[in-house]
């Protein structure tokens, strides 16, 4: 912290003494220069150097200095307020728990920049999920001019000051040792709700890192679970909420519910900031989500195929009770037939190859293949082509399956509609290239992947869900690509609902029960985890298989829907 050569005086305040360190190195340097008659620097540069220091001078303890240093990002007022509060009231240790889409990354970047500008930080560590490492690195560099690097090699821990790394890498040897041996002026942890359990390796790891300032970022409304909150706060400021049993007695009625809400809120506000979209000071106007449900009738050949495949799936699903592999294949088949004939076709072929000596199944599959071949036109693609022509603007079509993607691409080409594909398997360069083509040359992007980092599609405001993922998380990811900071127009979502198929039910669950499309739901993964729904696809499938009549299916899906909804509020 200070040079060994510093001379130390102190300022006496009565109850305390404040040390004053005087750098002494300059005396020797000047004596040397006099003795050797140089080297002497230029007077012009001397003045310039002082001018630079004047510009960099931190003139005030409390006002944000970083804003003068930023030109590529203009923080919103709630983000500036948050940074000020962390600096002045929380003294650099805080939980940032804004709702999704309010820009927690910007807040964290702003706070980091502020401390850097003040010279209070040299070394910083930013731990994020592996999939976000590059995005974080890019944002810190591009928006904040913070020289952050993505940790790739072991030597980097000690040779770079500002490092973005994945927690899973950092906590494992040989990296762990390096992290433990360093002192970090600031530690930032994204997705910090993963630290809610004190008995996990993650928690222990973060607890052991030597750190001065700490920011924990989470979008999950952790204040709903007292113990989780307590554990997070203990990482920041042990003892802030008192001792654990004391905390239990004072604040908790049971595991989930707080006792004295007002008092607890005051305590929480000392360490946590949670901006909500509904807050008055939020200037961001999020565009609306306009949901269009487009009903669709299957043609007779398609109907036959759909029914036959559904019966096949239902029949084998209950038989395959123990065999997860088969079960998954059957679920996939059922979902695929809702997407396109082509998607289901491939799975049928694969099942045929794997069915081994099961002659009955083989025959069954061959029969289904024959039926599939009868289908010539697919009503869904016709509807979509009409829709695209009607929209007459950029459109993203999402599908879960590559076979459907290729089918859609070829049909659009037939119609002379310019389209580009987008897949998770593309490398970074190809992804960027496809984005560029879509923005400049094509009308349609046909994507199989909604997740992944760094896809900015704000220039487009029409989404067609060609098929419906059964997992609400994936639906939100799809919409989130377009409905995010920077989108200025209302977002149109088109859902294709094929009458009297599973998809109709799924849409009912997502749209009418969870209200998925209009509402932004934070961290559904955590919600599902909380409900102990390990595999929502399987849960839905069970309902489908176990229930014969349409009414009951609806009822049970409605039930699942209300459970999810309760957990989000």
């Amino acid at each position: 912290m200070n040079n060994a050569q510093d001379k130390i005086y102190s300022f006496d305040l009565g109850v305390q003494k404040v040390p004053i360190y005087f750098d002494q190195q300059w005396i020797t340097d000047l004596q040397n220069s006099i003795h050797h008659d140089g080297p002497w620097d230029s007077w012009e540069v001397f003045k310039l150097s002082h001018q630079a220091e004047e510009a960099l001078q931190v003139t005030d303890f409390n006002q944000l200095q970083a804003l003068a240093h930023l030109t590529k990002v203009e923080p919103f007022s709630h983000q500036i307020e948050t940074a000020k509060k962390v600096l002045n009231e929380m003294h650099g240790r805080a939980i940032l728990a804004d709702e999704v889409g309010l820009g927690k990354t910007i807040e964290a970047g702003l706070i980091l920049k502020e401390y850097l500008v003040r010279g209070l930080i040299k070394k910083a560590l930013i731990l994020v999920p592996a999939s976000l490492v590059l995005q974080w690195t890019r944002e810190l560099n591009q928006k904040f001019d913070i020289p952050a690097v993505a940790q790739k090699k072991e030597y980097m821990w000690d040779s770079y000051d500002i490092i973005v790394a994945s927690m899973d890498t950092a906590k494992r040897p040989p990296h762990r040792e390096h992290v433990m041996n360093n002192h970090y002026d600031m530690l930032i942890v994204d997705e910090a709700h993963k630290l809610k359990n004190k008995r996990t390796k993650n928690w222990e790891f973060i607890n052991k890192i030597k750190k001065k300032y700490t920011l924990l970022l989470t979008a999950t409304p952790i204040q709903n679970d007292m113990i989780e909150l307590f554990n997070l706060v203990t990482l920041l400021k042990p003892g802030q909420f008192g001792r654990f049993h004391h905390f239990q007695k004072e604040h908790m009625q049971d595991k989930r519910s707080p006792k004295n809400k007002d008092m607890l809120r005051k305590e929480i506000e000392k360490v946590m900031i949670r901006n909500k979209r509904s807050d008055e000071n939020i200037e961001i106007e999020f565009p609306k989500r306009i949901v269009n449900t487009i009903p669709l009738e299957l043609r007779p050949e398609e109907r036959t195929l759909y029914n036959e495949i559904s019966n096949f799936v239902r029949g084998y699903y209950s038989q395959a009770s123990g065999n997860i592999q088969n079960k998954l294949a059957l679920i996939t088949l059922q979902r695929e037939i809702c997407s396109s004939r082509d998607a289901a076709f491939i799975t049928l072929i694969n099942m045929f190859k794997k069915s081994g000596g099961n002659e009955e199944m083989k025959n069954e599959i061959l029969r289904l293949v024959q039926i599939a071949k009868q289908v010539e036109t697919q009503s869904k693609i016709e509807k979509v082509i009409n829709l695209i022509k009607e929209i007459n603007d950029k459109v993203i079509i999402f599908t879960e399956y590559r076979a459907s993607q290729e089918f859609i691409m070829s049909k659009l080409e037939e119609q002379g509609i310019k389209a580009v594909p987008y897949r998770g398997g593309f490398n970074r360069g190809k992804k960027d290239w496809m984005m560029e083509l879509f923005q400049r040359k094509a009308q349609v992007l046909v994507a199989t992947e909604a997740g992944g980092e760094g896809i900015n599609l704000q220039f487009c405001n029409h989404i067609i869900n060609y098929d419906m993922p059964w997992n609400p998380m994936r639906v939100e990811q799809r919409i989130g690509r377009v409905h995010r900071l920077g989108q200025t127009r209302d977002v149109n979502i088109y859902n294709l609902s094929t009458n009297d198929t599973i998809e109709e039910h799924i849409l009912y669950l997502l749209h009418e029960k969870i209200n998925m499309f209009e509402n932004v739901i934070g961290s559904l993964d955590t919600i599902l985890e909380k409900l102990q729904i390990k595999n929502i696809e399987a849960s839905i499938m069970d309902i489908m298989v176990e229930t014969e009549d349409k009414g009951t299916v609806k009822e049970r899906l409605a039930d699942l829907g209300s459970k999810i909804q309760q957990a989000t509020t």
Binding site: K7, D23, W26, L30, S49, F61, A68, P238
Partner: protein
């Protein structure tokens, strides 16, 4: 710091370091760097080692520095430079390195004109005596979890111990040269650098004492409060080794207790690191200045 400030600063920097301007446009500069600037800004130490080892003719880089991207012609490709940008930080760093120690002489008021110096070097005018001053620009940092700086410019006459504030401002008003001017003599210092440094430290301490120290009292209070919290928290965990229990269980408990004790120490260290109020005094730059007598009214200069 606005665009104009940044542009002036950068242009000044490049100019002082003998860079060659290819184009000066209101919104951008196209400049071929000098060797010194290239070394400081382009981050290619291997190239420069190569040049120096092999004696190759160096080829410095050309840069387009854009200060106002809105007003720059669209076909100009280059890097935007603004307050807070990496490039400007580099330039600041470069000035810091290259503008640290100086020795300068005040140019006499009525010097013998240059052409006459050359022609008739033996001409004798009145010899002027210059006094050696030690000038220093300080940066004083007040630190806790927050920070504030003040800058202080001081000078001390090494011949008689006289001291001046706002020393740099005074220096800016006069003409200075790095070589001893003709017909000028310099009086010998009476104080050593180390002795002068002591006097300067006294002055700085006095300056620090005038500051409001509420920030330090508050920081100390936060520190104490959090130390107390930590004490309470760890008190509530088992913290004394017991003699009871079976061996294995007892070992585990003892380990836990030890681990918690280590953790507590670490916390205390962290919190002191975060909050402890302290003041740091560092020179920005400094030097020896040979000056005419400094008078508050410059009557004699006007004669």
């Amino acid at each position: 710091m606005n665009t104009e400030w940044v542009r002036n600063f950068v242009e000044n920097y490049l100019d002082i370091h003998q860079c060659h301007f290819i184009e000066k446009h209101p919104a951008y500069l196209q400049v071929k760097l000098s060797v010194d600037v290239d070394k400081d800004l382009t981050n290619r130490p291997y190239y420069w080692t190569f040049v120096e080892r092999t004696g190759t003719e160096p080829e410095t880089m050309t840069m387009n520095l854009i200060f106002d991207s809105e007003k720059a012609p669209t076909d100009i490709r280059g890097e935007e430079i603004h307050f807070g940008s990496r490039r400007l930080q580099q330039i600041f760093h470069s000035t810091k390195k290259r503008g640290r120690i100086v020795r300068l002489y005040q140019v006499p008021i009525n010097p013998i004109p240059k052409y006459r110096q050359h022609q008739q070097p033996q001409i004798k005018g009145p010899i002027q005596t210059l006094h050696p001053w030690l000038g220093i620009n300080y940066k004083i940092e007040f630190l806790s979890d927050k920070k504030k700086d003040i800058l202080l410019s001081l000078g001390i006459n090494l011949a008689n111990g006289e001291m001046k504030e706002n020393f740099l401002n005074h220096l800016r008003k006069i003409e200075l040269t790095p070589v001893l001017p003709f017909n000028v003599s310099a009086s010998r210092p009476f104080l050593s650098v180390r002795e002068a440094a002591l006097q300067l430290e006294e002055w700085v301490l006095h300056e620090i004492n005038k500051q409001d120290f509420h920030w330090a009292i508050e920081a100390e209070a936060r520190l104490q409060e959090e130390l107390e919290q930590i004490e309470n928290y760890y008190q509530s965990l088992p913290h004394e080794k017991s003699d009871e229990g079976f061996d294995e269980e007892k070992n585990k408990q003892d380990n836990d207790i030890e681990e918690k004790a280590v953790e507590k120490e670490r916390r205390i260290e962290e919190i002191k690191w975060q909050y402890s109020p302290r003041v740091k005094v560092m020179p920005i730059n400094f030097g020896i200045f040979y000056l005419n007598e400094i008078k508050t009214n410059n009557v004699e200069y006007l004669q």
